[in-house]
């Protein structure tokens, strides 16, 4: 964690006496910050009030300095407990009362020490290793009988995100979704971030990957060339998609159509509806998308660019898939695990024109990862934004317009 924190309680006639205000002032004046976790105001004049305050400071030394200053005003450090762990009763089963994670940075207390939980992700459990003094999230399906799982709320604390240093569209810590607001400044901020991340990545940063999760509408709507360009220029490092995006991308390369529609003239071509099936069949015959690209069968497009640029591609299947293409993971839990493996190091996520992949990816991302969700249906960005305290920006617009504008801002000339 970059900050130190402690929970304090104040009790008594703390409101009218301005004691609460004084304590909060002291915390701020000394360089700390606080969250009023709980304030109970006495019902009558005689009843005392009660406040539970989380105090944070940039360093442990500052925190201790603050605690010493507020203690004479009645601030008492709340007694802390280690987290309670119980063994998992069976493979794939958490103990009752297991702690369910959020997507925010989380710490657990083991042997009087607060330690970071690794691989923050929402809706999982936390397993601890008492020998190594480590803790990490664990999906329900991956838990093994006897794994020590954190239960209850004691000894677990969630650290709200700090305001990002950058002054851009992500800096306001609010999840915004709007069809009305102009998009160009949002896209400009996204482009600026992507340029910075590419620079960081070239400088060796392991936390500078850009993830794109996309649906086939990218191809249908005319965003294929722009996305291909973004991949070729090194702006995209992880691609999450399904069978369809890959199939229609390669269909476009082989037949010039997307789901049978000629991409250049915009009408259906005879027998075009079978083009994507023929594409899938062809790749299945070759054995893999990589082979198809390396043997020159697939020459251009998103998948070809991804293979050449070494982009980490995870293709997750669904029950409506044709084929599927080789490499599509048809077991949902395996697909989820493969996506999860690709998350560490992601510094920006673009979720474009896919409800399924956008929501699945959103669930895997820590809250600290800035996320842009683009969809012509406002319900998708809204659903993601509803996850709360999330650096998510929703754009209600079509995928091709977004990708074309993004590529243009990043220097692509038409």
């Amino acid at each position: 964690m970059t900050t130190a924190q402690e929970t304090i309680v104040l009790r008594g006639h703390i409101i009218d006496s301005l004691i609460l205000a004084k304590v909060l002032d002291l915390i701020l004046m000394m360089g700390g910050s606080f969250d009023l976790d709980q304030v109970e105001i006495g019902r009558t004049r005689e009843d005392p009030s009660h406040a539970r305050i989380i105090v944070r400071a940039p360093t442990l030394a500052t925190l201790n300095h603050i605690l010493r200053a507020i203690q004479p005003h009645g601030a008492v450090v709340e007694r802390e407990y280690d987290c309670v762990v119980q063994p998992a009763p069976a493979d794939g089963v958490f103990p009752d009362e297991f702690y369910s994670t959020t997507h925010l940075p989380t710490e657990v207390r083991l042997n009087d020490t607060w330690i970071d939980v690794q691989r923050v992700e929402m809706d999982l459990g936390i397993t601890v290793d008492l020998q190594r003094m480590t803790a990490r999230t664990v999906p329900m399906a991956d838990v093994r009988k006897g794994d020590l799982i954190v239960t209850g709320q004691a000894g677990v604390r969630v650290v709200p995100m700090q305001r990002p240093r950058e002054r851009d569209v992500f800096a306001f810590m609010e999840s915004t979704v709007s069809a009305e607001r102009p998009h160009s400044h949002v896209i400009a901020d996204v482009a600026r971030r992507m340029r910075l991340l590419r620079d960081d990545r070239r400088a060796g940063s392991g936390q500078a990957k850009v993830l794109l999760a996309g649906g086939p509408a990218i191809i249908h709507a005319g965003g294929r060339d722009a996305l291909t360009w973004l991949v070729e220029e090194g702006f995209i490092h992880v691609l999450f998609c399904g069978n369809a995006l890959a199939a229609h991308d390669m269909e476009a390369d082989l037949y010039g159509t997307s789901l049978g529609y000629a991409l250049t003239v915009g009408h259906a071509v005879p027998h075009g509806h079978a083009h994507h099936l023929r594409t899938i069949n062809r790749i299945r015959a070759i054995g893999s998308i990589r082979n198809a690209v390396e043997s020159g069968v697939i020459k251009r497009g998103i998948m070809a660019a991804c293979i050449r640029a070494g982009v980490h591609v995870v293709m997750a299947g669904t029950i409506r898939d044709d084929g599927p293409l080789p490499g599509v993971i048809t077991d949902s839990m395996q697909a989820q695990a493969a996506m999860r493996e690709a998350i560490p190091g992601v510094g920006l996520a673009l979720l474009v024109a896919s409800t399924l992949h956008a929501v699945a990816t959103g669930n895997l991302l820590p809250a600290a990862v800035p996320t842009v969700c683009v969809d012509i249906n406002a319900s998708v960005p809204t659903k993601l934004a509803d996850r709360g305290s999330f650096q998510a920006v929703g754009l209600v617009m079509d995928a091709a317009s977004f990708l074309n504008e993004l590529a243009r801002q990043l220097g692509r000339s038409l």
């Binding site: 009218d16 006496s17 005689e46």
Partner: protein
């Protein structure tokens, strides 16, 4: 009828230094101290009409004379003080014994909660104020609030010369407050202005505050205070109070005056 606990100054002296007023080199004139104490008792008994309960003084406890710090008494219940300084902690047992001997229901606090009795807890009928930071621990007031079912507003004391609330804050029977604002931080001053209406706040000038004008005993319309505080006296007289100003400078050598030498029992 008011009952006050007092303790004769047989062993009063300056044997240690635990506040800015105390100087061991500043010798107490014992004869003068005894005379001043008896003068105060005479006024309290004969002119004010108070009933005095006398504790037996104890050798080696020079500050036992300051009975305001014995504890706080409401009805039949007494909370015994927990002194901050070890020098005065030895007084606790004697005060507790006295409360028990006369049948009070005695409440004792955990040792870590410093509380110096009526020296730091004063108020009006509906609202009490607790002085903290110098001697009493703010955390004691919620406990006392539970014991007595009263609102207790903590006030931070920011000037070491006014180390107990009763050295700078004196509620009067008519609802007025005699006080020295600079002994409190701005929050405390604001709270006092919020709780005590304009016109009821009698501000003591600094030179008189330093003579402990606020360390006064108010019984009905009588106010007993140290001599040498003419502006304070003028303000009190204009409100219809009867003034009894007495020489108590021997006790000022120890940082105490009229109020410190008494504890209201009723």
């Amino acid at each position: 009828m008011s009952r006050l606990l007092v303790c004769p100054p047989d062993y009063f002296d300056i044997e240690y230094e635990i506040n800015p007023w105390m100087r061991r080199s500043n010798t107490v004139d014992h004869v003068s101290a005894v005379t001043q104490w008896h003068g105060l008792m005479h006024v309290l008994e004969r002119e004010v009409g108070a009933v005095l309960e006398r504790m037996r003084p104890v050798p080696g406890l020079p500050d036992l004379v300051f009975t305001a710090n014995a504890g706080v008494v409401v009805g039949r219940r007494a909370v015994v003080s927990r002194f901050r300084y070890p020098e005065r902690q030895r007084e606790e047992a004697y005060f507790e014994d006295w409360f028990r001997s006369v049948g009070y229901d005695v409440v004792t606090l955990e040792p870590e909660f410093f509380f110096e009795g009526a020296g730091d807890l004063l108020g009006f009928s509906d609202c009490w104020f607790g002085g903290y930071r110098q001697r009493s621990d703010i955390r004691v007031f919620p406990l006392l609030s539970d014991v007595f079912t009263r609102e207790i507003i903590p006030l931070e004391l920011v000037d070491g010369r006014f180390y107990h609330l009763d050295t700078c804050f004196c509620p009067l029977s008519g609802g007025e407050l005699l006080y020295f604002p600079a002994a409190f931080d701005t929050d405390g001053q604001e709270v006092i202005m919020e709780r005590v209406p304009d016109g009821s706040r009698l501000v003591v000038p600094e030179n008189e505050a330093l003579r402990f004008a606020c360390n006064a005993v108010c019984v009905g319309k009588h106010v007993v205070l140290p001599a040498g505080c003419p502006e304070t006296e003028r303000q009190l007289q204009s409100r219809g109070y009867l003034i009894h100003s007495l020489p108590l400078d021997e006790f000022m050598k120890s940082g105490g005056s009229a109020k410190c030498l008494t504890l209201a029992l009723d």
